[in-house]
Symmetry: C2
Subunit: 126 residues, 2 copies
Protein backbone atom coordinates (compact mmCIF):
# COMPACT_ATOMS: atom_id res chain seq x y z
CA UNK A 1 0.00 0.00 0.00
CA UNK A 2 1.63 3.14 -1.24
CA UNK A 3 1.52 6.26 0.84
CA UNK A 4 -0.24 8.11 -1.95
CA UNK A 5 -3.03 5.57 -1.97
CA UNK A 6 -3.65 6.28 1.65
CA UNK A 7 -4.02 9.94 0.90
CA UNK A 8 -6.28 9.17 -2.02
CA UNK A 9 -8.53 7.40 0.41
CA UNK A 10 -8.46 10.40 2.68
CA UNK A 11 -9.27 13.06 0.13
CA UNK A 12 -13.01 12.77 0.18
CA UNK A 13 -15.15 14.24 2.97
CA UNK A 14 -17.48 11.28 3.19
CA UNK A 15 -14.63 8.84 3.52
CA UNK A 16 -13.06 10.95 6.23
CA UNK A 17 -16.28 10.81 8.17
CA UNK A 18 -16.54 7.07 7.70
CA UNK A 19 -13.02 6.51 8.94
CA UNK A 20 -13.53 8.81 11.85
CA UNK A 21 -16.55 6.79 12.91
CA UNK A 22 -14.77 3.51 12.31
CA UNK A 23 -12.01 4.53 14.67
CA UNK A 24 -14.55 3.94 17.44
CA UNK A 25 -15.07 0.33 16.39
CA UNK A 26 -16.99 -1.73 13.83
CA UNK A 27 -20.25 -0.32 12.55
CA UNK A 28 -22.94 -1.66 10.28
CA UNK A 29 -23.97 0.15 7.13
CA UNK A 30 -27.34 1.31 8.30
CA UNK A 31 -25.63 3.01 11.23
CA UNK A 32 -23.47 4.91 8.82
CA UNK A 33 -26.53 6.11 6.97
CA UNK A 34 -28.09 7.37 10.14
CA UNK A 35 -24.92 8.89 11.53
CA UNK A 36 -23.79 10.65 8.40
CA UNK A 37 -27.24 11.35 7.04
CA UNK A 38 -26.10 10.48 3.57
CA UNK A 39 -27.90 8.31 1.00
CA UNK A 40 -27.30 4.59 0.88
CA UNK A 41 -25.50 4.55 -2.47
CA UNK A 42 -23.02 7.11 -1.34
CA UNK A 43 -22.15 5.28 1.85
CA UNK A 44 -21.98 1.92 0.16
CA UNK A 45 -19.77 3.13 -2.65
CA UNK A 46 -17.28 4.84 -0.41
CA UNK A 47 -17.09 1.80 1.84
CA UNK A 48 -16.45 -0.31 -1.24
CA UNK A 49 -13.72 2.11 -2.24
CA UNK A 50 -12.04 1.80 1.13
CA UNK A 51 -12.40 -1.96 1.16
CA UNK A 52 -10.94 -2.32 -2.32
CA UNK A 53 -7.85 -0.57 -1.01
CA UNK A 54 -7.64 -2.58 2.14
CA UNK A 55 -8.40 0.13 4.69
CA UNK A 56 -11.51 -1.56 5.96
CA UNK A 57 -12.91 -5.07 6.03
CA UNK A 58 -16.52 -6.19 6.01
CA UNK A 59 -18.35 -9.10 7.49
CA UNK A 60 -21.88 -10.15 6.79
CA UNK A 61 -24.26 -10.90 9.65
CA UNK A 62 -27.66 -11.85 8.47
CA UNK A 63 -29.10 -9.01 6.53
CA UNK A 64 -26.52 -6.59 7.76
CA UNK A 65 -22.94 -5.95 6.86
CA UNK A 66 -20.51 -4.78 9.45
CA UNK A 67 -17.48 -2.74 8.55
CA UNK A 68 -14.37 -2.34 10.63
CA UNK A 69 -10.88 -1.03 10.16
CA UNK A 70 -8.68 -3.64 8.57
CA UNK A 71 -6.95 -5.84 11.09
CA UNK A 72 -3.46 -5.36 9.72
CA UNK A 73 -2.54 -1.78 9.01
CA UNK A 74 0.79 -0.53 7.80
CA UNK A 75 2.78 1.85 9.92
CA UNK A 76 1.88 4.59 7.49
CA UNK A 77 -1.80 3.90 7.66
CA UNK A 78 -1.72 3.73 11.40
CA UNK A 79 0.09 7.05 11.60
CA UNK A 80 -2.35 8.74 9.29
CA UNK A 81 -5.41 7.38 11.01
CA UNK A 82 -4.06 8.65 14.30
CA UNK A 83 -3.41 12.01 12.70
CA UNK A 84 -6.90 12.12 11.29
CA UNK A 85 -8.42 11.33 14.62
CA UNK A 86 -6.44 14.05 16.28
CA UNK A 87 -7.50 16.58 13.69
CA UNK A 88 -11.12 15.45 13.73
CA UNK A 89 -11.40 16.08 17.46
CA UNK A 90 -11.69 19.78 16.89
CA UNK A 91 -13.82 19.79 13.78
CA UNK A 92 -17.60 20.12 14.18
CA UNK A 93 -18.74 17.61 11.53
CA UNK A 94 -16.71 14.84 13.02
CA UNK A 95 -17.74 15.61 16.56
CA UNK A 96 -21.36 15.61 15.54
CA UNK A 97 -20.96 12.23 13.88
CA UNK A 98 -19.47 10.69 16.98
CA UNK A 99 -22.19 12.16 19.11
CA UNK A 100 -24.88 10.68 16.90
CA UNK A 101 -23.04 7.37 16.88
CA UNK A 102 -23.08 7.24 20.67
CA UNK A 103 -26.84 7.66 20.72
CA UNK A 104 -27.55 5.06 18.10
CA UNK A 105 -25.05 2.43 18.97
CA UNK A 106 -26.29 0.94 22.26
CA UNK A 107 -29.60 -0.03 20.78
CA UNK A 108 -27.83 -2.15 18.24
CA UNK A 109 -25.08 -3.70 20.29
CA UNK A 110 -26.39 -7.15 19.47
CA UNK A 111 -25.38 -6.69 15.88
CA UNK A 112 -21.75 -6.54 16.74
CA UNK A 113 -22.24 -9.21 19.34
CA UNK A 114 -22.75 -11.45 16.36
CA UNK A 115 -26.09 -13.00 17.13
CA UNK A 116 -28.47 -12.04 14.36
CA UNK A 117 -31.06 -14.53 15.58
CA UNK A 118 -31.66 -12.49 18.63
CA UNK A 119 -32.19 -9.46 16.49
CA UNK A 120 -35.40 -7.52 16.62
CA UNK A 121 -37.09 -7.45 13.25
CA UNK A 122 -35.05 -4.60 11.89
CA UNK A 123 -31.88 -2.65 12.24
CA UNK A 124 -33.43 0.76 11.95
CA UNK A 125 -31.67 1.43 15.18
CA UNK A 126 -33.08 4.28 17.13
Amino acid sequence: MELVEIYECLCDPTRLRLLNVLAQGPVCVCHFQDVLGEPQVKISKHLAYLRARGLVASERQGNWVIYGLAAKRSRELEANLACLQECAQSIPVFKRDLARLKKIEPSCAWVRAGDPRKAPGQCRCG
Copy 2:
Protein backbone atom coordinates in the same frame (compact mmCIF):
# COMPACT_ATOMS: atom_id res chain seq x y z
CA MET B 1 -8.39 25.39 4.87
CA GLU B 2 -10.49 22.28 5.04
CA LEU B 3 -8.94 19.03 6.11
CA VAL B 4 -9.91 17.42 2.83
CA GLU B 5 -8.00 20.05 0.91
CA ILE B 6 -4.89 19.10 2.79
CA TYR B 7 -5.34 15.51 1.76
CA GLU B 8 -5.99 16.57 -1.80
CA CYS B 9 -2.63 18.24 -1.75
CA LEU B 10 -1.07 15.07 -0.44
CA CYS B 11 -2.55 12.62 -2.88
CA ASP B 12 -0.03 13.01 -5.66
CA PRO B 13 3.41 11.41 -5.55
CA THR B 14 5.22 14.43 -6.95
CA ARG B 15 3.69 16.75 -4.41
CA LEU B 16 4.61 14.41 -1.60
CA ARG B 17 8.21 14.50 -2.75
CA LEU B 18 8.14 18.28 -3.00
CA LEU B 19 6.78 18.65 0.49
CA ASN B 20 9.24 16.17 1.87
CA VAL B 21 12.09 18.20 0.41
CA LEU B 22 10.57 21.45 1.58
CA ALA B 23 10.50 20.19 5.13
CA GLN B 24 14.28 20.67 5.07
CA GLY B 25 13.95 24.33 4.23
CA PRO B 26 13.34 26.64 1.25
CA VAL B 27 14.48 25.43 -2.13
CA CYS B 28 14.58 27.00 -5.57
CA VAL B 29 12.80 25.44 -8.51
CA CYS B 30 15.87 24.29 -10.38
CA HIS B 31 16.90 22.36 -7.29
CA PHE B 32 13.61 20.55 -7.37
CA GLN B 33 14.17 19.57 -10.96
CA ASP B 34 17.55 18.14 -10.15
CA VAL B 35 16.48 16.44 -6.96
CA LEU B 36 13.30 14.87 -8.27
CA GLY B 37 14.53 14.38 -11.79
CA GLU B 38 11.19 15.47 -13.14
CA PRO B 39 10.49 17.84 -16.03
CA GLN B 40 10.12 21.52 -15.42
CA VAL B 41 6.42 21.74 -16.22
CA LYS B 42 5.56 19.04 -13.78
CA ILE B 43 7.48 20.62 -10.93
CA SER B 44 6.19 24.07 -11.68
CA LYS B 45 2.59 23.01 -11.92
CA HIS B 46 2.60 21.10 -8.69
CA LEU B 47 4.28 23.95 -6.88
CA ALA B 48 1.60 26.25 -8.27
CA TYR B 49 -1.01 23.83 -7.01
CA LEU B 50 0.43 23.87 -3.53
CA ARG B 51 0.82 27.61 -3.53
CA ALA B 52 -2.75 28.18 -4.68
CA ARG B 53 -3.86 26.23 -1.62
CA GLY B 54 -1.55 28.03 0.75
CA LEU B 55 0.77 25.18 1.65
CA VAL B 56 3.82 26.87 0.24
CA ALA B 57 4.92 30.39 -0.53
CA SER B 58 7.29 31.61 -3.19
CA GLU B 59 9.71 34.46 -3.42
CA ARG B 60 11.53 35.64 -6.47
CA GLN B 61 15.25 36.29 -6.37
CA GLY B 62 16.64 37.42 -9.64
CA ASN B 63 16.03 34.75 -12.19
CA TRP B 64 15.17 32.17 -9.59
CA VAL B 65 12.12 31.49 -7.51
CA ILE B 66 12.45 30.08 -4.05
CA TYR B 67 9.72 28.02 -2.49
CA GLY B 68 9.25 27.39 1.17
CA LEU B 69 6.55 26.01 3.41
CA ALA B 70 3.99 28.65 4.22
CA ALA B 71 4.82 30.61 7.34
CA LYS B 72 1.47 30.13 9.02
CA ARG B 73 0.18 26.58 8.98
CA SER B 74 -2.96 25.33 10.61
CA ARG B 75 -2.76 22.74 13.33
CA GLU B 76 -4.09 20.20 10.89
CA LEU B 77 -1.52 21.00 8.26
CA GLU B 78 1.26 20.90 10.80
CA ALA B 79 0.11 17.52 12.06
CA ASN B 80 -0.08 16.08 8.59
CA LEU B 81 3.27 17.41 7.52
CA ALA B 82 4.81 15.85 10.59
CA CYS B 83 3.07 12.61 9.80
CA LEU B 84 4.31 12.71 6.25
CA GLN B 85 7.85 13.31 7.35
CA GLU B 86 7.70 10.41 9.72
CA CYS B 87 6.36 8.10 7.05
CA ALA B 88 8.82 9.36 4.45
CA GLN B 89 11.78 8.48 6.62
CA SER B 90 11.44 4.83 5.80
CA ILE B 91 10.49 5.10 2.13
CA PRO B 92 13.28 4.87 -0.48
CA VAL B 93 12.12 7.57 -2.88
CA PHE B 94 12.00 10.17 -0.19
CA LYS B 95 15.31 9.18 1.29
CA ARG B 96 16.94 9.37 -2.11
CA ASP B 97 15.52 12.83 -2.66
CA LEU B 98 16.93 14.10 0.59
CA ALA B 99 20.30 12.56 -0.18
CA ARG B 100 20.42 14.29 -3.54
CA LEU B 101 19.30 17.51 -1.94
CA LYS B 102 22.20 17.40 0.51
CA LYS B 103 24.70 17.08 -2.32
CA ILE B 104 23.26 19.86 -4.37
CA GLU B 105 22.38 22.35 -1.77
CA PRO B 106 25.71 23.62 -0.46
CA SER B 107 26.80 24.80 -3.87
CA CYS B 108 23.79 27.04 -4.02
CA ALA B 109 23.58 28.38 -0.52
CA TRP B 110 23.91 31.92 -1.82
CA VAL B 111 20.53 31.66 -3.41
CA ARG B 112 18.80 31.37 -0.13
CA ALA B 113 21.19 33.86 1.36
CA GLY B 114 19.33 36.30 -0.84
CA ASP B 115 22.15 37.87 -2.80
CA PRO B 116 21.53 37.17 -6.46
CA ARG B 117 24.25 39.63 -7.46
CA LYS B 118 26.90 37.39 -6.11
CA ALA B 119 25.51 34.53 -8.10
CA PRO B 120 27.66 32.72 -10.59
CA GLY B 121 26.21 32.92 -14.05
CA GLN B 122 23.79 30.11 -13.56
CA CYS B 123 21.98 28.06 -11.02
CA ARG B 124 22.65 24.71 -12.55
CA CYS B 125 23.96 23.81 -9.16
CA GLY B 126 26.30 20.93 -9.13
